[in-house]
Subunit: 130 residues, 2 copies
DNA sequence: ACCGTTGTATTAGCTGAATAATACAATGGG
DNA sequence: CCCATTGTATTATTCAGCTAATACAACGGT
């Protein structure tokens, strides 16, 4: 698991969360796969174990991974799905933000939808590239 | 212009930026419209003028507003459009993030596109509600 | 020409977040 | 049964970002 940490202002723990989340959601990491140990990854990244632990804790809170003492951390089963209303409530602010940004860049709704479709296909495809 | 500031961790200046940007992009504010003066808005919000000034500066950097000394701040003409490649480059990270979040909530691409269309229509509609 | 109003600049304080140092606790495999 | 390895907890330090206080500068209307 070679993660790529950059010093662009995004917290290290957040970069770890983002990248692992991305790999799980794109299918590069499958249910049951083992993540690097906290200490192991911390050493790789030349970072304090607490920093990795924090990232893993967030992933656990999101239900994406499961920690087992003395064994390691693993990609979890898909978390229990919330109600549709709840899921929409959570997504809507992000939709709005994207729409505003898209408009500001001069894209029409159609443009946006097209780009989104293409991007989704691209993300799905990366699964095979390993 | 009644803005709504909440103390939920998002910086005040950022909330100002977001809300004004939203109003411009949704058509609630039209080109040439005058924004509140820095001092005026600062007083409304019980906030230091510098905080509002910072928000306005960011909006100016994005090309959304134009400041005129001794006169005020106004919604600017639509900024010069960048190249398509550049605009896509800027949007792509946001697309990816939304796709990941959407997947994590259990939505399919189709779901996501549907929700996006609806939301866009909603945002466009708010223009008339004033 | 003035002066009130507009935006601007400088400095400083403070809070909170991020990370690290270090020590603790649990448990499965040899 | 024990101990190496796993994750956990506590505490401290540093640093950046946000906001405020205050003073400055420009300019248009009267």
């Amino acid at each position: 698991m070679q993660l790529h940490i950059s010093s662009d202002g995004v917290p290290i723990y957040q970069q770890i969360v983002d990248q692992i989340q991305y790999r799980i959601m794109s299918g590069q990491l499958a249910v049951g796969d083992e993540l690097p140990t906290i200490r192991g990854l911390a050493e790789d990244l030349r970072v304090n174990p607490n920093t990795v632990a924090r990232a893993y804790r967030e992933l656990e809170n999101e239900g994406l991974v499961e920690k087992r003492r003395t064994t390691g951390t693993f990609v979890a089963e898909l978390p229990a799905t919330r109600s549709l209303a709840e899921r929409r409530r959570l997504l809507t602010p992000h939709l709005d933000k994207l729409i505003i940004q898209s408009r500001q860049l001069g894209f029409s709704v159609g443009d946006l939808l097209d780009l989104l479709r293409k991007r989704d296909a691209q993300i799905t495809k990366t699964k095979r590239l390993r």
